[in-house]
Every structure is written in structure tokens, then in C-alpha cells.
Symmetry: C3
Subunit: 351 residues, 3 copies
């Protein structure tokens, strides 16, 4: 029986080592009840060492077992703990969390909750799970093992691929599509209207957004994040993209595969972003520009023109004590003048 939240799980270390494909060194019968960081571990905790600079923590940790690289295992064993030896401890830790979650937070059973509303013409696979008060509009297609949480809304004609989860209170709009194994977190809104208006005599006339949103496989979309539908063509998010919470993706943006964005990022309309990029929190990308593959934008930096060369880019006003900032900010408003004065002095001094 899977345990309920709050219940403890107790598993043999040998089972964990086997699940991770790691080499067990030490006592395989040791019971593990928790995954935890080295600095807050107990004898029933399994921990991991992913960064060489944290190696000193091994001398003091109470962890009963540690996931480590081969060269570090003797240090663990010398402390009387057991080791699970793998090539990449951080990756093994990630996989262990998934193995653990599968045992402690099982997916809901297939079937449609009696309170849910499934419109005539919607196709819900027999192995999909539909939560309380969920709404599945007409012609929506939900594949096997799809999980729709409480109060989630799936619009008319939308398609949700195998194993994808639409968490409680998410909205997946009319005619939008998402592939396999995705997660759309609570409050996310996929497929609201893009922000498009034509100016006319001092007023704004709405441009209906006739496109949709097309999302690949293995995509995660954070809580309260918005991905707008395209104006004419679709907004596109390729495979493996990870979006954190409270992100705004405007209409007709294209995000390349395996790009990740931290919370509060904003991407304006029709920006085309490459593969394998990363964006720090609150980074802003203006519209209609292009970002190459493998570009990394620091948190809170604003991209105002296209970036065609891989690399790390930053642009943040350095924080300072308020009094210092005030003086420097005031001077900044005259910076161009200062440069002119400097030039004048240079000319004078080199006749």
C-alpha cells in the first residue's frame, strides 16, 4: 500500500541502490526513512554529495547513507555510514526523489470524478483521471494516464498527451495542444488571448487571437504562469522546456527545446528564443527579437535587441545603501555630459 502524506516510508538501502543502478557499499539492510541534506540528516536519512566544495560536510553529517562518486566513498564508509556509488550523484538524487514520490504520492486512480463535467463529444481515455469539478469541453481529447486536477478547465477541442498532468485550477484553452509527460501547475492559464489591438481614433480595437498554443513533450509550466494564444499562427513551446511560476509568454513567442526560465520572467510577442537557453528570475525579453541557442540571461536583466552569440549576459543596476545609490543615480543622469567633459580634458592635456 502506498503511504499517505505524513506517514513514513521505510525502505532497504539495497532497494534504493538497485533502483538507482548504483553500487552499494556498506549495509544494504539499513532502513531509510527520508531523503535529506547532509547538514540536517539523521541515521535513517539518505543524503547526497553533488559538489566537491561540500565534501567537508561528510565529516559531521549523521546521514546513514550517502550517494557519492567513487572517489568519495571511502570517506563515507570510514564514518560508519553506507555509500551508494554513482557517476552523477545529483542526477541520482533527482531520480531518487521521483522513485520516492511514486511511493508516497501516488497518482489518483483512473476515472472521472462524479462531480466533474465532461461535455458531449469530449474524448477521455479510460485510463485518464478527472478530478472534482473539472470541466472538459466538447471535442477535447485526453490521452491515457492524463491527470486533470480539481477545478481544471480543458477548452473545446484541446488535446492533452499521454501522462500529462493539468493540476488543480489550471486552464488549458480552446484548441491548444500539449504532448506527453507534461505538467501544468495550478493557476496557469494556457491560451488566453494575446494582447493585440489596432489603434483607431485614440481607441484600441481588438484583434481576435485566432491561433492557439502548441506545446511539446516533457514540458513543465509553473503556477499562475500565462502562455497566450497566437494572433494568426500558434505560440510554440518545444520539447523539454521548463517554465517556473508567474511567467508571461506573449502571443506567437517560440521557445526552443530544453530552455528553462525562472520565476517572473516576461517574454513579449513574437520573440524567438533558442534551445538550451536559461533565463534568471524576472528577466525580460522584448518583442520581435531573436535569441540564439545556449544563451544565458541573468536574473532581472532586460533583453532589448537580438542576441546571436551564446554566452552569459547581464544588466542590473547594482544595489547599494540608499544614500550611495541616490548620489550615483543622480550622477548617472549626467553620464553622457561627464564623458564629454572627460574628452575635453583629454584634448587639453595632449596638445
Amino acid at each position: 500500500m502506498p503511504s499517505r502524506p505524513g506517514e513514513t516510508l521505510a525502505v532497504r538501502l539495497a532497494d534504493i541502490a538497485a533502483a538507482l543502478g548504483g553500487e552499494l557499499r556498506g549495509d544494504g539492510e539499513r532502513l531509510v526513512e527520508r531523503i535529506g541534506p547532509l547538514e540536517a540528516a539523521t541515521p535513517t536519512t539518505i543524503s547526497f554529495l553533488a559538489q566537491a566544495r561540500l565534501k567537508p560536510l561528510l565529516a559531521t553529517t549523521a546521514a546513514g547513507a550517502v550517494i557519492v562518486r567513487d572517489d568519495v566513498a571511502p570517506v563515507v564508509l570510514a564514518r560508519g555510514a553506507s555509500a551508494v556509488v554513482v557517476a552523477d550523484p545529483y542526477l541520482a538524487f533527482a531520480r531518487l526523489t521521483r522513485w520516492w514520490a511514486a511511493r508516497t504520492r501516488p497518482l489518483p486512480a483512473p476515472g472521472v470524478h462524479p462531480s466533474a463535467y465532461v461535455a458531449p463529444g469530449a474524448q477521455v481515455h479510460a485510463l485518464a483521471s478527472i478530478g472534482p469539478f473539472a470541466v472538459i469541453e466538447a471535442h477535447a481529447v485526453l490521452a491515457e494516464h492524463v491527470v486533470v486536477g480539481a477545478h481544471a478547465v480543458v477548452g473545446e477541442g484541446a488535446e492533452v498527451g499521454p501522462g500529462t498532468q493539468l493540476r488543480a485550477r489550471s486552464t488549458f484553452g480552446q484548441a491548444c495542444r500539449i504532448g506527453a509527460r507534461g505538467i501544468v501547475h495550478s493557476g496557469a492559464v494556457i491560451g488566453a488571448d494575446g494582447f493585440g489591438f489596432a489603434p483607431h481614433e485614440g481607441r484600441w480595437e481588438k484583434i481576435e487571437q485566432l491561433g492557439a498554443v502548441r506545446i511539446g513533450d516533457d514540458v513543465e509550466i509553473g503556477a499562475n504562469t500565462c502562455v497566450d494564444r497566437g494572433a494568426l499562427d500558434d505560440t510554440v513551446i518545444e520539447d523539454g522546456v521548463k517554465l517556473d511560476n508567474l511567467i508571461q509568454i506573449a502571443h506567437n513567442v517560440h521557445i526552443g527545446a530544453h530552455t528553462a526560465m525562472a520565476g517572473c520572467v516576461g517574454v513579449a510577442g513574437s520573440a524567438r528564443i533558442g534551445k538550451h537557453c536559461t533565463f534568471g528570475g524576472a528577466a525580460m525579453i522584448l518583442g520581435h527579437l531573436q535569441i540564439a541557442d545556449h544563451v544565458h540571461i541573468s536574473a532581472a536583466s532586460v533583453v532589448m535587441s537580438s542576441i546571436m552569440k551564446p554566452g552569459q549576459y547581464s544588466g542590473v543596476f547594482p544595489i547599494d545603501e540608499n544614500g550611495n545609490w541616490e548620489k550615483n543615480a543622480a550622477t548617472l543622469r549626467q553620464l553622457h555630459t561627464l564623458r564629454t567633459r572627460l574628452r575635453a580634458l583629454e584634448k587639453k592635456s595632449s596638445p
Copy 2:
């Protein structure tokens, strides 16, 4: 019969020209199945040319019909395509999208979905449409042609004007009012408490927010955008204002008519913003200040004091390769000192 999403619509070009009040040049019997950009058009696509700089695209587009100004029509006809001639092609395009959407995404039929909850004392017009699981609290008043989407909540005593749409999973709070033809997108929260507290012995004591939110006609409010209720008086949004997604409008803000704000903008309490202003994405406006009519704030710029003169205003740290940024940012922290040193040199050199 209106088509369902995914179904194609096929309309005569002559009907489109008539609907737009444009002059047809070429084959009015041509069937149009799609509106699309010039660069991705097919012979059954109608496209448009709104900017002179895009004129070269006419030489290569496969569009069967193009909406253009009079002077450009011959270029279209010479390519064997048809033209719809109008004074403002972008405006005609906007109107065409609305004509198209009315045929492909019809509004839901009037009536209250059997799963919705309408509290005793609420007034719902017979021509309003209330979706699955919507909640209409007591004394709310919904006018004709109002559309309330699935899971939307309309608070006690709220008033919603004719033709206004509260999309799925939006919240329209107690005693708030919105005029005619508005759209409140999914996840938007109108009328949460403003952020008001009195400090007392190191703690915060809540100031109940006794005002509401008052919204004019033709206002659009984006997905997951928040408009807080006023502390004593109302927060006010005038006619024709357009707010994109994930915007924060604090208590007692006043936004003048026809002002537009892109995604992620924040406006702090009691700011008073003029008419016909525009705000780029993630612009921030501090509290208790005033912005005149026709002010345009660039994306990611922070308004820290009142702006009384129309114009374009900006304030963003320019992004750069990380190494360059680090050097310049470090120097920026000494900028005031640099100015002092420059002055000293200037004095020395002009005795």
C-alpha cells in the same frame, strides 16, 4: 452553422470586402479559408500589408488576397492575387479577425448551466450565459449578453454590464462594477483586498479595504492580472483601458481612458495615471504619484516621481556580456566619486 475549432471556414472574398467596407479589386468569388501573415500565406489565405517597410514581401507571398492601401493594390493585382482596398489595412485586419471569430468561435447560448450556482437574490438576465460551476453570489446583477465562463466567481452585489465576458476561472469581487463589452480573462482577480496595514509595536494591523473596483466600458483585463479594491474609495479604471496579463493594480489607483499596459506591469497604491498612456512590459509605477495624459513608459522602466509632460520615458540598465557588465556595474558604484575627481581635474587644468 458556425464551424467547430479545427474545422475550416471558407468564405467568398466579396463577402469579406463587403464586411470591411473595402473596395474589391480582382476575383470576388475566390474562397478564403484563413487569415495569415504574408510570409506564411497560401492561395486560400487573406493577408494584409500594414507597414510600408514590409512591401517587398508582396513580391514573394503566395496569398490569394491582400488587404492594402490604394497605392499598393496594383502590385497585388500584378501578382495575380486579389486586393481589398481600405484606408487603414491594420484596422481592417483587426475588424476581419473579429468577423472571423464571430463565425468560428460563437459565444455560448444564453442560459444557466445546470451545474452553476446562482444564489438567491442574484439577477441574471435571460440573455446572459452562465458556464459550468460558475458561482453568482447574492444581489449580483448580470446584464444581457453577459458571458460567465466555467468556474468564474461573481461576488455579492457585483454588477456586470451588457456583453461583458468573465472568462473561465476569473474572480469578480463583491460590490465591484464593470461596464459594457468588457473582457476579464482567466485567472484575473478583481477586488481582492488592497495591501493596507498600520504598524503597531512591530506588527502589522490590517486595514479592511472598504472600497470596491469600478471599471468602465470596453475594458480588457488579462489573465492572472489583479486589480485590488480601494481602502475607502474605489479603485477606478476608465473606459477603453487595456491591461495585459500578470499586471498588479493596487488599491485606489486611477487609470485614465484608453491607456494600455503590457504584461507584468505593476502600479502601486493611489497612483493617478492619465488617458492615452502606454506602458511597456514590466514597467513599475510607484505609489501616490501622477502621470499626465499621453505619457509612454518603456518596458522595465521604473517611475519614481510624477511625470507631468507627455513623451517617451525610459530607464533600463543596458544588457551586456557578463564580464563587461560586471566591470561597468562595479564602476557605477563609484560614479559620484568619479565625477568629483573629474571636477578636481577640471579645476586644475583651468587655473
Copy 3:
């Protein structure tokens, strides 16, 4: 009977003075129908004077009663109005709004709305109130006087303390806990997955987030704000913290007691923030850093390293007319070079 929204309340000034523990000077039988600011008051309005610089407004206000400090009362009485004398008028005003709200916006009656879904095994106190379509999952525990609004979702095993309100359309996730007298506003998502992935061969492998969110007493969390669950340990928000709308709190953040954050703030993972801090709107705090008690961060400022000293900190590019900004921003990209040139000149001039 409590009045409905829109209905007026009419109370004797003597009752207000008694409720505030203030000293009445003037006519205690005067009827008060509204709390309002001095500049928009009528004879049935009670107002307050909290800042000495606003004292001139007393000469022109039409308010029938004003909450003031002792020394100001004679000015009020001389105008023919009545005074309620207290030590801290702003605090008294805050308390009056709560007294007023209790009379005009009474809490819903205890009980479970017939449309709500309460899973078997959930514990709902008989004095709790559960709104339409609310979902209470298994093993959740709701204390006395808890109010769960329409469409709110309380996850499996979550605990909600006495008197706490989860407003309409909020999400309170699996195994999360909140203390007494809290408010979680509409659209807020407590306990979505933290943003954690291990890179592997150019892809991201999910790290399941096995922690939860632990929230103290008297905490308010704004509309559409997100607080993510911890990776291994919990995300922690201590007593008395106030978070405005659209804030992102990442996994394993720790926020000290009585700290307040304005709208659109972002806090990245594992940041540890002190007690009694304030953060202006859209301030951003990077991950894994520490902020001491009594630190105040200005709006839109980015904290990129730990701050161990109390004080006010700022870092915002000053806004300017666009043309000026362009020149100064361009020069800023050469600032380090300018410093080098200045040094060269200084050397030259001081041989």
C-alpha cells in the same frame, strides 16, 4: 441585522469612540454613515488625521467627526465637528475599518455548502464555513471558524488553523500548514512544486519536491501569489508576514516574522530573509543568500548578495526622457573605460 453591500450603516459616534477606546469630544449622538478621507468627507463621514503635514485639510473638510491626537482636537471642535481623541489615529483608523467591516461584510455562516466536495477522511470543524464547489481532500484538517471560499482547493493532509480564510479560488496544497487568523487571497497557489531539475545530457530531469509549506499565525498572502513547496525540507513563512499580490516565493525560502512584501516581488530558492524587513514592489532577491532583520529594500531593486546590516537599500536605473536615457545608457556601457581614462589623466596631471 448586518447590512448588505450597498446598504448604508448608520452608527452613533459614541459607539465608535467606545469601540476604539478613544475619548469623545463633541456630539456622541451624531450619526456616522461612512469612513472617508478628509478631502472627500461629508457631515456623516468620520475621517482621521494621521500625518501632521495634512493638518491644513482640517480647515476645509466637511467631515462630521475626525479621529485625532489630543493636541489637534481643538481645531476639529472649532469647526463644529466632533473629535475622537486617541494616541495613534492611524492605528485607530485601522481598527475602525475592521469594526466597520464586521458589520457590513459579515463572515458566511458555518457549514458546508451542499455543492462542495469534502473527501472521506477530511476533518472539518462544525464552526468552519465551506463555500460552493470548494474541494477538501482526504485527511485535511480545518479548525474552527475557518472560511473556505467558492472554488478553493485544500489538498490532502493540509492543515488550516482557527479563523484562517482561504478566499475564493485559492489553492492550498497537499500537506501544507497555516496557523490562525490568516488570509490567503483568490488565485494564490500555496504548495506548487518548487522549480528543481538536474541537468542530464542537455535535458532537465525533474527533482520531485518532497517538502511542503509551513506558514505561521496572522499571515496574509495576496491574490495570485505563489509559495512553492520545499525540495526536501519545508518552505517557511513565520508569524505576521504580509505578502501582497503576484509575489513568487521559491522553494525552501525562509521569511522571518512580520516582514512585508509589496506586489510583484520575487524571492529565489533557499533565500533566508530576516524579521521586520520590508520589500518595495517588484524587488527581486536571488537565491541562497541571507538578509538580516530590519533590512528595507526599495521597489524594483535587485539583491544579488547577502545583506547583513540593517538599513535601506536601493538599485534602480533612474528614468529619464528617452533621448537622454539612450545617451546615458550607451555611455554606461563604456563606464569602466571612462574610469581608466580618468586615471590616466590624473596621473598625467600629478607627476
